[in-house]
Symmetry: D2
Subunit: 340 residues, 4 copies
């Protein structure tokens, strides 16, 4: 961490400040006194140094982190890719493309079993489906809740596909005991209380990026889970909020290689929520694979026009067949190209 | 709600769609068939009509809400300003300027009592202070928690100032029983589970605007609380996330008159979090009063440079004296100008 | 265009407004009077109807365009893809991948000829290079100007590659007479005076998307050029400004399929300016091809660390060899996948 | 400027880089070698150091400016407020509130003379009016052009109000010879060729902030004009583009005190374009005055509902009477409060 001091600072103030930094954060401070400004360099583990506190000091002009503020999620301290393996054998981050597919909301047994079978046949490796639904309006359908979880488990029994579903409050963790991957939605990316509790479980956590969160904040939220002892975090890019209205959100595919550089965690992409439009899902799914994503999360509904939520962005099983086939083919083709 | 259908739609499809809308949502549908496109107009209570569902219909080109999706927060159905009155007599939204002031984090008895007394002397009507702190990093100070709540209550006893403090999870509601106003932070604005539980209490709720949330989404979150039966919602603008980096966030003061037009709820402004810089607080506090805000929330710390969080944006008690005095004076002066 | 009137509007007002719309814009107006609101539907060519004017009418609640405001750039009125062919035979938008490569700034004869030859050898079909450079600071290198144009022409002579270079003011059009494709930079996307003048030429125009412009505004800028009689517009996505700071801009790849749906014009992608970092160029170039882009624009410099501008995002010729090879291979592989 | 080098850098590389910096930019370089990283500090005038170039060096990890990149616009080198005085005596930035008012577009003699007289009577000190209009659509009214300029001059003759009007291309500068203040619109804020030419004139330039430009970029554009020798730059905040759709743009009032701190140039606020809605103009005008703005720019039209452009945001002369009266009164009241 580099701290630039104000021009008019006196020598005694610098000495005092240096001492307080060393004591407070257990770091070593080097001072470089220039003609126009004085710069301090902090050596040691600066992840715990509070930028707000430093900035508040009267003699400080500005602060610049050199070291990232996350440790456990940082590739520097964990050079190899994290591969998350489920007890049932499925892997995420091992170089293969994983596809999580299914309806936005679980609606009934017939629906979820039918969709589960169809996405499995198309190559999906996980069944996704919402039981608890975060909705902007209190008057919109909020999910089947516990009943929805049971239906998902039923579909898992029938198809063998592990299930991914969203949790909305810490007190539900027990209820999610037999869920295979617990999803944290975009609106809860900085629900730190929930993250802390999930850090105490040993479940894989799918952490969606918040609508207006930076990549660094996203990794800090992963760090919350990991700081609790749970290293099984899967990141999911699902579009960020911008001024553009032609799409529901703006899919930030550059986040994929950026995450790959900064972190060892697997990262997948959700083109359905990012674009909000079924006709954009294929091209963005393919582009996501090309960008290096470890997987895709795609909404599939037996009958999108009667879906209880997010119908506009759902693919039919037939459309999903095509997308999955092309995504797997592209993954393979691109690997051959790279290894050529 | 106006629904524009695709050009090529057939008459039978329109009839079927019209019938399904009327049955599903208990609305009346008027059809206007033009040469190039057909438009449906929905009459009745359309707050429960699911735009996603409508958009997903194959024959639908686009949807436009005429009626706002919120009801209880809507000024149309509640023309008079809501005035929130505490059991101890303080009012918010009654035309007077209310100022909530205090430290970002409660640190110790001496600190909170000193700051409480100072802000009271300066005219503040509420004491704010964080006991549970949402922090981006798991390694940053997370607040004194329950002990912090006790210290706040102690300061209330000493000064008589009612207290405002942030809640971070629904399971803490019991612990917040004797808090006067419960704050929902920006990161939890769409923590719908928390909002629902707060809707079951009878506490005034201070609902901060999310970093990347529209005014409509903000009012929908108020609606979540009100739909549960709790109408005591105070909105708090605290800056939105933009590309500008000169300030921590961009304070959206136009939100104040917009909220005043759309809703009957009181709205206050937090210039400390919006700007992130103590030297910007005064001008933005004054501008907020001029924009018509019902109140201000301002961070004050006895010793900002030693604050455990957000020191850079805290005022000293002496600085706050000046800001409060000027804010009250401006409020009065502007009222005289308007009534002249 | 659908116009929703305010609830309290009187019949005479509606009749008057209807008449003035019909007279002013030569459209037919249908009126649908509902219980709660009245809706007008405009039939005919509404591209010339001024939304600002409509919105300003006292009786108007809101306006919704059904028809896009652009005509010549609209796929509805021109279903086939536009293919732009240069006198020398090169085509853009014909289904093949076109790659425009070269240095941000032309620096000297040796440099531009060397880079031109290298990118040609790697398969680039156009040489890009800046002679006039838009720089945020008046103290930064502003390009070799006329001399730079001459060097570009020299490199064209040597390699046979047509040249693409940026124009910054209308009065330079004569000087750009022998340039093959004239580029309009992001900052000039809404320099309407420049667009109008370019509309009078018969040069292909590469129109970069503005940093904060919507896709609709971008197409309206294309419409400016086309309205003048020049239909040879190539759109270039180069990232938009968001709050994210990990990349210079946020590359909006969903813009590619959106443009393909709304317009018949070719669209290419510039991953160099979008990301601002050389190590991100390959993955975003590949993702752009996968998203359906007609081409790529990539910065290549013989010696990026000594480049006079934008060195951080330039590839070396060796790096470009790899990216170009993989991009062409992916394009071919994906076509085989689609046609399988 | 602080340059952080990569951890693995060798001593010889550092020495070489240091030498090349000193030679290239005529600065002195101090090196601070830490255990984990090496930091260089540049001393001297770093405004001409090209960050892109520095960032492109292989051994560089990151760069941080300590000194602002603008000099002539910088308050550090020019502590006193700039006061711009017109030959006819009007001043901007002298502590009084200046109000520029008038129609978006000049439409006819009767209109402009009537509005000019009305705004003068209400206390406006300048007449604004558009002769050349930047419009998103090529099919919208583009202004009366030269005829509009003549009408403005006529209104000036009648009322004595100096005129402010927008220029859209450098080749028009001669035509603007007798205009009192030349406006550069938001879309041209980074039309550097236009800025350079305006820098050669001695006219006061009103520089609007671009829709997606940072305050630093805005000051750099002022620097372009000043670098040419013209120091008479007035900055105008007019809202920035965000995701919020309740207002046309988001007015960034915190920009006012930020500019006041960073620069000595006067800054005014345009609430009409920022909000896009006439009913929001008063509250934002008053808030702007309270934030410390030197002036206001407000659209006034004799008959907003028949305005040829931007009618929705124009005030009637009667409405303007009220806004101007209150703005002047608030300015005076706030000064009394501050001096109390």
């Amino acid at each position: 961490m580099i701290i630039v001091l104000k021009p008019e600072v006196k020598k005694e103030q610098i000495t005092l400040f240096q001492a307080s930094l060393e004591e407070k954060y257990n770091v070593k401070v080097n001072t470089w006194i220039g003609v126009e400004s004085t710069v301090l360099g902090l050596i040691g583990d600066t992840t715990q140094v509070d930028e707000d506190w430093v900035n508040a000091q009267e003699i400080v002009e500005s602060v610049k982190r050199v070291q990232e503020p996350y440790k456990k999620a940082n590739r520097k301290f964990h050079p190899d890719n994290t591969v998350i393996e489920l007890p049932t054998g499925q892997k995420i981050g091992d170089g293969n493309l994983c596809i999580m597919a299914g309806p936005c909301s679980v609606e009934c047994e017939e629906q979820i079993n039918y969709v589960a079978q169809r996405v499995k046949d198309a190559g999906a490796t996980f069944l996704r489906g919402g039981a608890f639904k975060p909705r902007t309006s209190p008057y919109s359908f909020q999910g089947l809740k516990a009943e929805g979880l049971d239906l998902l488990k039923g579909a898992r029994k029938v198809t063998g596909l592990p299930i991914v579903t969203e949790i909305m409050r810490a007190s539900h963790i027990d209820m999610f005991e037999s869920v295979d991957i617990i999803q944290v939605g975009a609106r809860n990316m900085q629900n730190f209380e929930l993250l802390k509790e999930l850090g105490k479980t040993d479940k894989p956590i799918l952490l969606k990026r918040g609508l207006a969160n930076t990549i660094e904040e996203w990794l800090m939220s992963a760090e919350y889970i990991m700081a609790g002892g749970n290293n099984k975090v899967i990141l999911c890019e699902r579009g960020i909020r911008t001024y553009e209205t032609a799409t529901r959100n703006t899919l930030d595919l550059s986040a994929v290689p950026v995450i790959k550089k900064l972190s060892h965690l697997p990262v997948i992409v959700d083109p359905s929520h990012a674009t909000g439009k079924a006709w954009l899902v294929e091209s963005m799914a393919i582009a996501a694979v090309a960008s290096g994503a470890d997987g895709l999360m795609i909404e599939v509904h037996n009958d999108p026009k009667h879906a209880l939520s997010d119908g506009a962005q759902s693919l039919t099983p037939d459309q999903f067949d095509v997308v999955a086939k092309r995504a797997f083919a592209l993954k393979q083709a691109y690997e051959e190209i790279i290894n050529a």
